[in-house]
């Protein structure tokens, strides 16, 4: 019995193999048209195939989307890094351009004031707080900087040197409470003293010009410059502009509020006047 069974199986396999081989031969290579059997099978299978193809496609797309997402994430990381690099480069370029503009202004100013022998310095520190009354510069006694030298930039007077180290110095700005500068109103030629803003009770970056004659006709908008008295500051350096005149009858002098031309919040480079050629 098992032998018969085996023989039947073997016969079946051989028959099937022959049939399949015939099919293979018939369907291999290019054919003009499908066989009738194939057409019928195709007609039956086609909807099933379509259905399965849709399933397969959606599963494929699902996995593809995961793969694509991974790829996109990688690309995103690379691009993000690139953008950060470019932003950094852009920042450096902008900074270089701005520095160039500032230095050019300073140079123009220096050429304009050809009687000043100046030393270009960088601001390396400011005392803490919103308004900076003293600043530190990067040059000192080794570069010929001494106490009481005037410090200016293209906008106007910054202050004077009060302490000198070997390669650094501290500058008291004109808005510091202890600062006092002999000044003159450019239009009216009235003399006075420009002091820092301590007595204004709050620090707002302004100065006061005191000791102005009572008959002075100064008005808001008048420019204030150094008078050259006291021999610390050379004559004719811009200090600021009068914004308000305080005319109190009980006083013997007029007082004016002066807004400095220098932007003390954004100081980066400056010039120290070492000598003035007469």
């Amino acid at each position: 019995m098992p032998r018969l069974l085996k023989r039947w199986q073997l016969v079946l396999v051989i028959v099937l193999a022959i049939v399949l081989t015939v099919f293979i031969v018939m369907t291999s290579g290019q054919r003009e048209s499908l066989t009738r059997v194939e057409e019928i099978v195709g007609d039956i299978i086609s909807p099933v195939q379509g259905f399965m193809y849709r399933i397969a496609t959606s599963v494929s797309q699902f996995f593809q989307s995961i793969a694509e997402r991974q790829q996109m994430l990688k690309e995103y990381e690379v691009l993000k890094e690139r953008v950060a690099q470019l932003e950094q480069q852009q920042l450096q370029m902008d900074e270089a351009i701005r520095e160039n503009q500032r230095l050019k202004k300073l140079l123009d100013f220096k050429e304009e004031k050809d009687n000043f022998i100046v030393e270009g310095v960088r601001v390396t520190g400011k005392n803490p707080g919103n308004w900076f009354n003293t600043i530190t510069i990067d040059k000192g006694s080794e570069d010929g900087i001494t106490v009481n030298m005037a410090v200016i930039n293209d906008q106007g007077l910054i202050g004077r040197v009060i302490d000198v180290g070997k390669n650094w110095a501290t500058v008291r700005t004109i808005i510091d409470g202890q600062s006092s500068i002999a000044a003159i109103v450019e239009r009216t030629r009235d003399n006075g003293m420009v002091k820092g803003n301590n007595t204004l009770t709050f620090e707002d970056g302004l100065c006061r010009m005191i000791n102005l004659p009572l008959d002075s006709d100064i008005v808001a908008g008048d420019r204030v410059i150094t008078s050259g008295f006291g021999e610390i500051f050379p004559k004719g350096i811009l200090i600021g502009e009068i914004t308000e005149v305080l005319d109190e009858e009980r006083d013997m002098y007029k007082t004016a509020i002066v807004e400095p031309y220098v932007d003390f919040l954004r100081l980066e480079e400056a010039l120290v006047i070492r000598k003035v050629d007469e």
Binding site: L5, Q9, I45, I55
Partner: protein
Amino acid sequence: MKYWVVTAILLFNFIIQSTILPFLQIVGIQPYTLIVIVSCFGLLGGTGYGLFTGLAGGLLQDILYGGPVGLNALHYMIIGFLTGLLYDRIFTGRFIVPTFIALCGSLLRGLMMMAYLYFTRVSVSLNNGFTLVLLPEALYTAIFMPFTYYLMSLLFQYRFMKKKWHFRRS
């Protein structure tokens, strides 16, 4: 019942093979899980199981993938029948023997495919074909055998699966 189960397994395998496995390609080689399935049926169910699941699974691929009709059917039918001959003759153990059988089945299919290509006058270098395609394909396919064989052996513990295909006289 077992017909439905077998049909479901073959359809499930077809979907997996045409959708997920292309994404598991390693150096352009993807596994053929139908060899694993057919070998499992042959080893656990005998020649009848192997032969018919190989024939049906192969035909399904022939019709749905296109190409010469009967090629896959012939290959898988032969693999199924040969693995079925081992049913109850050898001790298959849990994993090692089935994996080796899947490896041999895959190599056999590769050789039959190369023979077909030879007869259709497609020039294939036997050496290159064996080292670059056949062997990696067989190894990759065999990796899937232990897990599949474990699941299939669990399935064959159900009584309805033990029912023989109708070769013997009733």
